[in-house]
């Protein structure tokens, strides 16, 4: 059974069509890049998968189920913005994740926090933007989820942190799980991807493995993306 499946999935906001009859199947055990320019529908697709939006048409299934309480147990989601309460300490957030997610591995989170010199007694509001992003990613990647949905995980951080984040993603994910990384910074994530999905103006333009793009077109995913989305 695919871990994520969209059947003619549509979402519009008033007159704006964010997703237009998208059909897509993602299998477990792969790292998938959801690639597209700004405003292409990447975030909308991930929000629909998390039940944060309701489809206007079609359906989206996670492990065969419509988004709900059951699917939220197996999906670990990193939104594209700071979403942790500013007054909370890291230790309180560890409690919260441990309380609600059965698959949360506190020891793994503590180990990563130590490695990145993030003090458990630090409050979110005391952190720099980059540290907040790291803390969020540590919480999300410390779950042993079946599907990781990471929206712009490397958006606003320096290159060294970027490398650490990608390393964290690869090192921590369970081989039976699927990781979806949504981004427009393709060159940075290309090294970790197995498959790519190109999305533009709410439509899927391409779904292929990274190897097949390199073999068939003789160029990197980044180069091919620039070719497809040439302005």
């Amino acid at each position: 059974m695919p871990i994520l499946e969209c059947r003619e999935l549509s979402k519009h906001f008033g007159s704006v069509q964010a997703l237009d009859e998208v059909s897509l199947t993602l299998e477990a055990g792969r790292v998938i890049g959801l690639l597209g320019p700004n405003g292409s529908g990447k975030t909308t697709l991930l929000k629909l998968a998390n039940g944060l939006l309701t489809p206007t048409g079609g359906e989206i299934l996670i492990d065969g189920l419509a988004p709900g309480k059951e699917t939220k147990r197996i999906v670990s989601y990193l939104p594209d913005r700071p979403y942790l309460a500013e007054w909370m300490k890291v230790s309180q957030l560890l409690d919260l994740f441990e309380d609600f997610y059965d698959d949360f591995d506190r020891d793994r989170a503590i180990e990563m926090l130590l490695r990145l010199n993030i003090d458990e007694e630090m409050r979110i509001k005391e952190m720099s933007k980059g540290t907040r992003e790291k803390a969020q990613l540590i919480l999300v990647m410390s779950r042993k989820a079946k599907l990781y949905l990471l929206d712009e995980p490397i958006g606003g951080v320096d290159p060294a942190t970027r490398d650490y984040i990608l390393e964290t993603i690869i090192r921590n994910y369970n081989p039976e799980a699927a990781v979806v990384i949504s981004t427009h910074l393709i060159a940075d994530v290309e090294q970790v991807l197995d498959d790519v999905v190109f999305i533009n103006q709410g439509k899927i333009m391409l779904q292929a493995s990274v190897d097949s793009i390199r073999e068939e077109h003789g160029m990197s995913v980044d180069q091919y993306f620039r070719e497809v989305f040439r302005c």
């Binding site: 906001f13 998390n50 944060l52 309701t54 939220k72 979403y83 919260l96």
Partner: protein, 276 residues
């Protein structure tokens, strides 16, 4: 999972409500000492007199602040925790929307009750202090419960008054729930839209207020007319009976109001959630 949500909610609200309640208690103690000071011979020193008067003023302000804070916390927790960025975490927890709303409702209800009881307690203490009555005197003067009960039974209103008290508690609880849900529903409906979310929340608040006050007025008039026809002449017996009937009508209205607002809130969050 509801228990865990309530625990988190208390953690988030207690960090503000406990210091506020503590400040009220400390200021109540200081203000009551100041009141004694002002009425004693210390009142001859102008600077001290001003300081004591300032403490009494701060005490009054703290009481108002505590009541306002319970209200602000109720609105702000729902808004920030569910409808702004923190909503990305809350709505991806493996919990139902019902549980999210109930956790907020229960914790707000508790803080309203705690604040209300605290204010009642400190105000009673101040009243006793001003009238120079000690607590021992109050208990000495007060008739025993059995005396009160016998007197009420003699008048034939004992059972009625017990019933009315129960109704009173129900009215307080339901009124608090309806107040919270009024804000929750207006905010949830307003945040279904992509733009002008706050403005639309205010519009929904006003529309809901108008609709329910029309309903309340209509039902109250009908209730009074029915009672008038039933008992054109009032005595203590049917007076209590009529009052209880009116209270049941009010409870029924608050129940309907709360149920409608609750489902409006849950449906908007389930079907129309639109986080920025």
């Amino acid at each position: 999972m509801l228990g865990k949500l309530i625990k988190q909610e208390f953690r988030a609200t207690a960090r503000i409500m406990l210091p506020v309640s503590g400040a009220v208690l400390v200021l109540a103690l200081l203000a009551n000492l100041s009141i004694r000071g002002l009425s004693g011979n210390m009142s001859n020193v102008p600077a001290l007199r001003m300081l004591l008067a300032f403490i009494v003023f701060a005490y009054g302000a703290a009481i108002v602040a505590a009541a306002v804070m319970a209200m602000v916390i109720m609105i702000n927790r729902f808004y920030r925790n569910l409808l702004k960025d923190e909503g990305y975490l809350m709505f991806t927890l493996p919990v139902s929307v019902h549980e999210l709303v109930w956790a907020k409702l229960i914790v707000s209800l508790v803080w309203f009750l705690v604040t209300g009881l605290l204010i009642a307690l400190v105000c009673s203490a101040t009243a006793l202090n001003i009238s120079h009555t000690s607590l021992a005197e109050v208990f000495r003067e007060m008739p025993s419960w059995s005396e009160i009960r016998d007197a009420l039974k003699e008048l034939g209103v004992y059972n009625g008054l017990i019933g009315l008290t129960m109704q009173g508690i129900l009215v307080i609880l339901l009124s608090i729930l309806a107040l919270c849900l009024h804000f929750y529903a207006a905010m949830s409906l307003g945040h279904m839209f992509s733009k002008e979310k706050i403005l639309l929340s205010i519009v929904f608040f006003v529309v809901i207020s108008f609709a329910f006050s029309m309903m309340q007025t209509g039902i109250s008039i009908a209730g009074f007319e029915a009672i008038d026809r039933l008992h054109p002449v009032l005595d203590s017996q049917n007076g209590i009976h009529d009052f209880m009937m009116l209270a049941w009508i009010f409870i029924g209205m608050k129940l309907i109001q709360s149920a409608v607002l609750y489902f409006a809130t849950v449906l908007s969050l389930k079907r129309g959630l639109n986080l920025e």
